[in-house]
């Protein structure tokens, strides 16, 4: 119990007719970099705002470090927020912005000076004390917002898409920077984002959210390699999904027969429940493309198709293949420079290891979440 920082127990939030967060239960460990990932409107920001105290849950309890804070005012909570818009105080200097929280807590003047200095060094902005926010670039404002929150050494730092307004290069740089800072200070970070790369790069664990519910919680590699639902498979990276039916499982291996008759072998633990109609998936970079004249390696899954398009991306080749499913299949092949590239129209064989195969329950069409973003 002691090493759980945030606990949400069946928390719901209702806005008029809309259920923004639906019976959410969640535990975040101390010192963890935890991300809430999902499309806009999935309830991730509302979840964050309830932990920060800006929204009161309609039902359920929220605990911080074991203490029930469900109805506690934001200024009494030992959490700090980095806002999406930074929300720096425009009338105060960088120093006064960062010192704001410490002064409200009546920290001694000399200590305020020392800690503000430390915080600004931590975010790599020493010497900016006298500037006003309007004199800073977006990236610098972002760092001030981070320093302003971190300087209070909160139990949990809440970050609401803090990198959303930065350009791609700066965002990549800040992702590594945030990870470094989190390692350095050891504070629990709860990070809200709709960017899967961002969540995967930085997080210890990710909760993928949709329609106010958590679809899956796990380490980035678990969520990516073995998505629990069709939505997760589609939201985190590209995936190839094929309709199938579970035939038999003999303990460690299970066989799924595709509509076309091809049999696909999957690790039995990937099967979730007694469901018979499922979708089998495989990530594009896990697939090897072979000429169908080559002998088939034993134990690998294989399906055949016709190459429709080969795209040169530089770091890789990207292939689009008309296979057995209704949607074309995608394959990424690293550009090693030695392989022969098949030509469009050619028959090809797609092979991959059974352990790279995942099984998901079919959900509504993915167009559903694309509309929201």
């Amino acid at each position: 119990m002691a090493d759980i920082d945030v606990r949400m127990d069946q928390v719901s939030k209702q806005f008029a007719e809309v259920t923004a967060v639906d019976e959410l239960t969640l535990e975040i460990d101390r010192g963890e970099f935890f991300s809430l990932l999902g499309p806009s409107g999935c309830g991730k920001t509302t979840t964050l705002r309830m932990i920060g105290g800006f929204e009161e849950p309609s039902r359920g309890r929220i605990y911080l470090g074991g203490k029930d804070v469900t109805t506690m005012a934001p200024y009494r909570r030992n959490v700090n927020t980095v806002f999406q818009s930074y929300a720096l105080f425009p009338h105060l200097t960088v120093f006064d912005n960062v010192a704001f929280g410490l002064r409200r807590k009546k920290v001694q003047k000399t200590e305020v000076g020392r800690r503000v200095g430390d915080a600004l060094r931590l975010v790599d902005l020493p010497g900016f004390e006298r500037r006003k926010p309007s004199q800073l670039s977006g990236g610098q404002q972002q760092r001030v917002a981070l320093a302003r929150a971190l300087v209070n050494e909160p139990q949990v730092l809440l970050l609401d898409e803090p990198l959303g307004a930065l350009d791609l290069k700066l965002r990549k740089q800040m992702q590594l920077e945030l990870k470094r800072i989190q390692n350095e200070v050891g504070i629990t970070f709860l990070y809200v984002t709709h960017d899967q790369d961002e969540a995967m790069t930085m997080s210890n664990r990710i909760a993928v959210m949709r329609h106010g519910r958590i679809e899956q919680i796990g380490a980035p590699e678990d969520v990516y390699e073995a998505p629990a639902t069709e939505f997760v498979a589609g939201f985190l990276g590209a995936s190839n999904l094929l309709d199938g039916e579970v035939k038999d499982s003999d303990g460690s291996r299970a066989t799924i027969r595709l509509r076309t008759g091809d049999a696909i072998t999957v690790p039995a633990e990937r099967l979730d429940g007694p469901e018979r109609k499922v979708k089998v998936g495989v990530r594009p970079e896990k697939i090897k493309l072979e000429q169908d004249s080559e002998p088939l390696a034993g134990g690998w899954n294989a399906i055949e198709g016709t190459l429709r398009m080969a795209t040169y991306v530089g770091v890789s080749h990207q292939f689009t293949i008309d296979g057995p499913g209704d949607r074309p299949l995608t394959v990424y092949a690293q550009n090693l420079g030695a392989e022969t590239i098949p030509a469009p129209g050619q028959r090809v064989r797609l092979v991959w290891r059974p352990e790279h195969t995942f099984v998901v329950r079919p959900s509504e069409p993915l167009a559903d979440w694309e509309e929201e973003t």
Binding site: G53, Y75, N80, F83, F89, H91, F100
Partner: protein, 273 residues
Amino acid sequence: MVLPGGAWLFVFFLVPILFLASVSLQTGNIFDGFRLTWHFRNYVDAVQLYHVQFLRSLRYASIATAVTIVVSYPLAYWIAFRGGRHKTTFLFLLLLPFFVSFVIRTLAWQFILADDGIVLGPLKRWHLLPQSFHVLATSTAVIAGIAYNFLPFMALPLYVSLERIDRSVVEAAQDLYANKLEVFRRVIFPLSIPGVFAGVLLTFVPAMGDYVNASILGGTKTTMIGNIIQLEYLTNFHYPIAAALSFILMAVLLLGIFVYARVLGTRSIEEYV
């Protein structure tokens, strides 16, 4: 671009100002006509004769401006932060009485506050107030009238400055351990200062030259400089004195605004914009 604006200013501002300046330095009377004699004594006479009314106007305008701040700040704050979907409705309600003419509104107050009127009459009959009690013709009546009449000029800029405060900044202050009072004192109030600044200018300047309130709600002891200027112009036909008074009023206001802007800072306004 400069030319049309410049021409406009020349015709409608500079020419009348120069004409007024010329009048203020003339001597003569309405029957024989006035001639420009560079008679600077007009200014000395104006100050000697009417410095009492001048200082009184300064005092009334200052108090009335302070009253408008005290009354309209909570009003503007409430509409901006708590108005929700009905903000425009509340603003409209606030402005509704001001669609009626300035003079009519003031006359209505004269009617309401009359010595034996609908408020004081019954109170006196029931012996809740002494027979000699009166509100009209006191400085309180005049100041209250000015404050009432200029309320929107304070409330609207205040509302605008409060309305445009980023709500996430308020949340950030709450997040950083500021309680309600501290959120107001450290964040909301400092960020609303441009509105206070604009409101004070829009209220104090016209209040200083106002004569309607003093003539309708006031008495002989509440005469303001606006009443004197009106009297000298329209009743006594002492054009040079009236012109000199107008110039002094303008100079005092300009100087006051300049000092005020220096202290409270147009610099800080630019930063907020």
